[in-house]
């Protein structure tokens, strides 16, 4: 457990102001964890790189050159060039777009499906809950990647379909967490009070239960982005995600495999980018979990 030591300024400020809100306390706990803060910094850097790719990238990521095929890293091309003479550094930088977009959008899809359904199941209980839970069990019975591959295969290979496949496949986890948190929150007195005051069920669910299940969902969302980035890279590696010539870290690794002996740099940099991005989202997720739930060790 982390103990945040209040500096003199914050201590005096706290004395003057009313007690800090849970969000402020959580933020302080998060700030007290160097690994989580480092993760957050790297996440922000990745987002900046993806957003500013056209200005940062030294070269056009899809411009081929027959004179520059598989050149080792140098000052001109600091991550080398690939089998079509394209600049690897530029492709890694543009590849951040596909990965982060897939991470964010597929988790948005997953939460967009999972949270409302989980809220309904947890709030309604009874047969509604039983039916929804069985469907979720069935979806969770198929290992994540295999279901995503099957969905991407039947929908057709493209980055959009990969995101849909990952989002749909990840939805049951959000549903389970939302359901459990809803059932937990629904037993609280303020929810009973809201009900007793005659609020309609949807209002109780949205205004009184939903805000209280946000912390566990935030933690799950962060960790799910990490998982979605790996999943997108996996699907692209298999050829079911981003289609050539658009750069994506997974498809770059796929191409790199054929030139492993001649051009190892083709495999090193995109993989390192995936690792770093996933690691930093995982660090932020772990930090958030500790910050939002101080009881956990």
């Amino acid at each position: 457990m982390s103990v945040t030591v209040a500096s003199p300024q914050t201590a005096s400020a706290a004395a003057a102001k009313p007690p800090s809100s849970p969000a402020v306390l959580a933020f302080r706990r998060f700030r007290g964890r160097p690994a989580a803060v480092a993760g957050l910094i790297v996440v922000v850097l990745f987002i900046l790189v993806a957003a500013l790719a056209p200005w940062i990238a030294p070269d056009d990521p899809i411009k081929t050159s027959w004179t520059l095929i598989r050149k080792a890293p140098s000052w001109a091309h600091w991550m080398g060039t690939d089998e079509n003479g394209r600049d690897v550094a530029s492709r890694v930088i543009y590849g951040a777009r596909a990965s982060l977009l897939a991470g964010l959008l597929s988790v948005t899809i997953a939460a967009g499906i999972g949270v409302p359904v989980g809220l309904i199941a947890g709030f309604a209980g009874g047969p509604v809950d039983a039916v929804i839970s069985r469907i979720v069990d069935a979806m969770l019975a198929v290992p994540f990647l295999i279901l995503a591959i099957a969905l991407a295969a039947f929908l057709g290979p493209s980055l959009e379909n990969a995101m849909i496949a990952i989002g749909v496949t990840a939805a049951p986890i959000f549903m389970r967490i939302a359901r459990a948190a809803t059932m937990d929150a629904a037993t609280n007195e303020y929810v009973e009070a809201a009900r007793a005051l005659g609020n309609p069920p949807w209002r109780v669910a949205l205004r009184h239960v939903l805000p209280n299940i946000v912390p566990p969902l935030m933690v799950q969302a962060t960790l799910a982005i990490a998982a979605a980035i790996i999943a997108e890279a996996s699907l692209s590696f298999l050829g079911l995600g981003q289609q050539p010539p658009s750069p994506s870290w997974g498809s770059m690794l796929n191409a790199a495999q054929r030139f492993l002996t001649q051009a190892p740099w083709l495999a090193i940099f995109p993989g390192a980018a995936i690792f770093l991005a996933v690691l930093s989202f995982n660090l932020v997720g772990d930090g958030l979990r500790d910050a939002l739930d101080p009881r956990r060790k």
């Binding site: 069935a138 290992p143 295999i146 099957a150 039947f154 298999l238 790199a256 190892p264 495999a267 993989g271």
Partner: protein, 314 residues
Amino acid sequence: MKGSLGTRLLQVLPTLLLVSMMVFGLQQLMPGDPALVLAGEEHDPQVVAQIRAELWLDRPIPVQYLHWIGNVLHGNLGYSWRIRQPVVELIAQKLPVTLQLSLMAFIIALCIGIPMGVLSAVKKNSIWDYLANGVGLAGLSTPNFWLGIMLILLISVDLGWLPPSGYVSPWEDWRQSLATTIMPAFVLGNAIAAVLMRHTRSAMLTALDQDFVRTARAKGLPSHVVILRHALRNALVPVVTLGALELGTLLSGAVLTEQVFSIPGFGKLIVDAVFNRDYPVVQGVVLVTAGIYVGLNLLADILYVLINPRMRTA
């Protein structure tokens, strides 16, 4: 407790039924008419109609499903569109390869994950704890296909110690089999080792805090006896059950690992089927995987009862 296992068994049935509907439903997502795909380039209307009748594609969807599930229950998962072989046969050929790989991966994961978890719990907040946690988090964050590529680069290309790809069955030559599978098994086991490490750590921390451990220490037992005999034995209960669940994850991971190391297993079967648009094979693989996974879940529940004496007598 027997009663609750019975309930658990009954719960499995609707789950499997829904899985089968889902797998069948995948076909409806497919753009275009499967009969047209099968008929090839010419689109001869007569051939298309014939294929449609053969595959029951001209019937209403619920009838198609009943026909399909009836076949599945008789052990018929249909025929591969590409090589006209029964899907069941294909799966039976490839599954043992993946099972060998998964088993080896699981053993490797246990050998890495549990000692690391114990170490980090016993030496909580020491450099060992941070190191073990760091390694665990790195393991969870490494895409396993990249780890595979990097190992091939280091161990096969640079050092030349192990073959970079291929597969030899253990019945043919167990040495060669070990040489071709040890690297992929390590790659596959790596992520699970990290999960097992985290579970072991938290279970050990709980166990070390309990009265019986304190009593054992107070009796003056040497600390390795307390840690291994008293604390670990109790901590392993949840770890074993969670470990059984992770076996299902191995099947997912095998898809990528087999692709990287060109191992002709279950994972390669589904990837090849996807690219050949061999949909019955894709459906078969998903269905069998789900069956295995549901079975493992059930096994985990049974194991939990068996190794936890309190649950047995209740």
